[in-house]
Symmetry: C2
Subunit: 633 residues, 2 copies
């Protein structure tokens, strides 16, 4: 069912430009920083204890387990990021370090393949007795993803063998022995598909399908689990939180814990693609619509409420109390990528890009050492992070979290972004994201050169042998007056445009040069009027970037800034010294000022002012500060 | 220090008009209904068990205590309402019932004067061991207020003797025996002043002053209380919740639990007045400003946050997640009344009236049998009362609450409103509120006749003997083009106006007729721009009434209704059949309608529509329904 698949990372280069800089940050700063975090070597940061947990489980150190039941997954995601980084940038020292860590993981694995330091250390606890809460299958899934990534990056099967042994044990338990159950936090389902794809072992696909198919069937498995071991609380019979309230094929509304949801939807799309499973695909399409038509922030954030880190009801998208977990946006990228591979439609690629450029990278400081868990669209110091109902919405990025799922998730996505940029299948090569670098495919190497997202000119240069294939490149939905030229000749775009992609089939020769150019004026965006908080407001975007105002540039009381509909939004000059290099925007605006009275018969007076906007992802890098995305218009 | 004091209720009549109808509702419906509630005779309502608790404490019934530690206070407040009702409307059957209940209370009192069924029934618990939480002094205070009220209404000292015995026991403990401590929930302080005023016993004033003076002193008493008996939780060292974080004289910001706060501020004003205590009065003035300049809703609601039922930070006044407890507005009326008696300034009387006509009576359905605890300014079914952060904001009034402080509090305030309307002192008679009826004072009887709040003509007719005194009547701050005439002759208002009151000193004769008339067009109100939620919005008031829109009259999606600044707000005709009789308002408005897209480059289209507004207090009487006070302008 898949029309195309991503290009293996070894065949993709990301060089320079916006994402090159991000990958460099991950390579040079984020990966070493997170390793130090897991070794508890960063003073003032939340304790991690991850390495020590593995040493204790391996019998090489004394002490107690520390952290959450899912603490192991931090290491797995970090190893995955390391793998992707090694794919493009061989680094013997880093690889040696990874090999040592993998060896430690191997020593922490139990003889039967079981791998989870929480349960290995807590020998009194019964394994697999609380699938709803205990995250064993979740951690297993992340370790499988790491094993696949490390194998693909280095050719070494050390971690792959570890996770296959683990997967074989799980297969034996849940398939051969017909033990009931499925994970409370989905993740292993998509990991098993990856494991199947790299090993060709159909049993892994079978196990993934089993977990998906059993989920939500009555009588509910979570009601039947009986254990004395409770992590947070006993089951209450409502499994919307876990997307286990009804069988997955019947689900059409995105509900519950947002990360669990999109991880599951990703696996559903994978399984639909592998098996041509139409009923699963129908569910995916319905869930996609539920998210993108009624439950998505303009930034690509999802999961509006702190109550269960979950999706709220339709159109309930508050800007100031939003949860918008970084991991949820990352999971949305996973889901969108899989939907795109089944059906190459711009609507999926646009959402990938929206989340990547906004709510994903807003999760990390420009320094690479501080991280957001929640990604608000409106922050007021003294309120955000402080008052009841706003305490989860931190106004500044801390150096780490006790629940540190987001930081290594961000690292693994950024370091693997090349595989999202390109795809190939059915004689067609796909360019989904405009990321500087190159791809080796179809006996050719295609180079992409651009200043995107700062301007809208994308230059593809073809090298290598003559090769006939169809080249499909994305035209963003918002692109203005897009034009294409091939070797200097204008090509009719509309004749070749289908569903957000332009398809050009020909024999490509060395030095063929295809240029896509579109206007990228700052544009206003209006929300559906059922989103209560955004009525009579506008947000500003340019290209894929959402813009925001910070107090640093605009003084305080941002709620009083009105952007009149007639005010032109002026695109500034790229400033390499500002916030790591950005194009700021400016507009004339009105600032409302009231007198001292709490209530008055006199409307606030209006003062002319200038509104300066910066890309949303870059907010919160200049100290404690007000921030706002939506402005009165 | 008091310039005037309220007129005893036996000398005031409330007849007909707006408040006459409310008092009739209290007399005929609310009092019998609440008696049935306390007898657990209303099916489907929360269990009360109040009468049974007293019977068990008296040894006349078997069983366990049921309810909160402050359950007794429901009966006390109900008896107070009964007393005020009997003052104006003798009712032998009701009085007999009250006598029986008072006798039961007497039998539940312990030999040493102790009176609190929670502790009398729970004999294992140590009395006065957890003043911070256990509400013994709070319940004592309410019983004292009832004792005073019943004595003043009927001349019977049965309940007065009970509460004096209780007060004497407390005096012995806290003054004679020098036992440390003060109540966690203030209330007894103001009650002791009432008890002092009616008995002339200085020791009650002394005890009140002791509680006020000791409060918040370091080391904090609540830190020192040691008990195994915990009601909700151990002390955490932060006593802002109880206004015991610093000595009361140092308090300038209204913080913590709003009801506790305003009950305490009321007692502070009482004590300042009794003793001419300037430092206490200074604190009262500062706290008054804190509330009215930075923490007051347009409706008179206070206590913005559910987190501790408390004041939030300055200007944090959300409309949809507001707490705005009915009791807090009632307590604000108490505080304002005392401030007014010290300094007859219109600013105090205006706030009394604002709260009375809006956030107090919004707490009760027009039927008198359903009650709000929280009084929101914006309600959306499916959100309010349902979603996290909104669960306290019920969109419809339930028949009772497990914590039922508000319903009997509303009853006692409405039934005593006559004493707020009038005052006398220093040879001046004060007319503070425009309430139909009459007052006997200065050997004369003054009749007040008006359709207020539906129009702005108030007619005072003087009867009885010729009498020289100054007559001071309030001119509301918002009154438009107020004019006065005496026996048909225009009198210069401005020459006689001082601080919101017009003073006319003369020998008043029978049939003197003074008419105050002012315009009362609907007017727009704008909030301070630091109130984030109300920026670019307007609310509509007419006279003392805040108006609101309901879905019933305006369709759904009220957030999309824009009231253009140029739109005239048209005052309707009084409709006696609508919501118990109201004057509705109408205006042309714009309704915004977007397409289906969640985000779009196209602004919502604008449709002309008509906005129908009803008085805020009357909302929620026509089924589940959207409601909103602030509109985009």
């Amino acid at each position: 069912m898949r029309v195309f698949s991503g290009i293996p990372l070894r065949d993709v280069k990301v060089t320079g430009g916006f994402w090159g800089a991000y990958q460099e940050l991950v390579r040079n700063t984020v990966i070493p920083y997170q390793e130090k975090i897991m070794a508890d070597e960063i003073p003032g940061a939340e304790k991690s204890h991850v390495f020590e947990n593995f040493r204790i489980a391996a019998g090489e150190s004394e002490g107690d387990f520390y952290g959450w039941v899912f603490q192991d997954s931090d290491l797995a995601k970090w190893l995955e990021a390391v793998s992707y980084t090694l794919s493009a940038h061989p680094d013997p020292a880093l690889e040696k370090r990874a090999d040592e860590i993998i060896a430690l993981i191997g020593r922490a694995q139990e003889p039967d393949g079981y791998l989870d330091t929480y349960f290995t250390i807590h020998q009194n606890l019964e394994k697999f007795s609380n699938l709803r809460e205990a995250h064993e299958l979740y951690c297993a899934g992340h370790m499988m993803e790491a094993g696949v990534a490390y194998y693909e990056a280095t050719g070494k099967d050390s971690l792959l063998r570890i996770v296959q042994k683990l997967a074989d044990m799980l297969y034996d338990r849940f398939i051969s022995q017909k033990t009931k159950g499925y994970p409370g936090h989905q993740e292993i389902e998509l990991a098993l598909v990856k494991l199947y794809r790299v090993t060709g072992e159909g049993k892994y696909l079978e196990l993934s399908k089993r977990f998906i198919d059993e989920r939500g069937k009555a009588p509910n498995y979570f009601d039947k689990e009986s254990t004395d071991f409770i992590v947070w609380g006993k089951p209450n019979g409502d499994y919307r939180y876990n997307q286990a309230h009804v069988p997955v094929r019947e689900q059409r509304e995105a509900v519950g814990h947002a990360v669990r949801a999109v991880y599951m939807y990703s696996a559903m799309a994978d399984l639909a693609a592998e098996a041509g499973d139409e009923s699963l695909y129908e569910a995916c399409l319905g869930l996609w619509d539920s998210i993108t038509k009624r439950k998505l922030y303009i930034t690509g954030a999802i999961g509006a409420t702190v109550d269960g880190e979950a999706f709220s009801i339709d159109y309930d998208l508050p800007n100031d109390t939003v949860y918008g977990e970084t991991c949820a946006s990352i999971g949305l990228v996973f889901f969108a990528r899989r939907m795109l591979e089944i059906c190459p439609s711009g609507k999926f690629a646009d959402v990938i890009e929206l989340a990547l450029y906004n709510s994903v990278i807003s999760g990390m400081s420009l320094s690479g050492t501080n991280f957001f868990y929640c990604n608000p669209l409106e922050v007021t110091p003294g309120v955000s992070g402080s008052l009841y109902g706003y305490r989860h919405v931190l106004p500044e990025r801390p150096p780490w979290y006790s629940c540190a799922c987001c930081p290594p998730n961000t690292a693994r996505l950024i370091s693997s972004i090349g595989s999202y940029a390109w795809g190939a299948g059915g004689g067609t090569v796909y360019s989904n994201l405009f990321i500087n670098g190159s791809v080796k495919v179809q006996n050719t190497e295609i180079f992409l050169d651009t200043n995107y997202p700062w301007d809208g000119e994308i230059r593809y240069t073809f090298t290598g042998e003559r090769s006939e294939f169809c080249f499909a490149f994305r035209i963003p939905e918002w692109a203005e007056a897009a034009e294409i030229s091939l070797n200097g000749e204008i090509v009719d775009l509309s004749a070749n445009l289908r569903d957000g992609y332009c398809y050009i089939k020909r024999v490509w020769s060395a030095n063929d040069c295809l240029v896509l150019a579109f206007g990228m004026p700052a544009r206003r965006v209006y929300a559906h009027t059922s989103i209560r908080e955004n009525v009579r407001k506008t947000a500003v975007m340019r290209g894929p970037l959402v813009y925001c105002a910070e107090g640093t540039d605009n003084g305080g009381e941002l709620q009083n800034i009105i952007l009149p509909r007639v005010a032109e939004i002026i695109t500034g000059i790229y400033d390499k010294d500002l916030l790591g290099g950005i194009v700021p925007l400016q507009a004339s605006c009105i600032r409302l000022l009231s007198g001292d009275a709490l209530y008055s018969g006199v409307p606030p007076r209006e003062e002319e002012a200038t509104l300066t906007l910066i890309p949303y992802y870059a907010w919160g890098n200049r100290g404690l500060n007000q921030m706002r995305v939506w402005f009165g218009e």
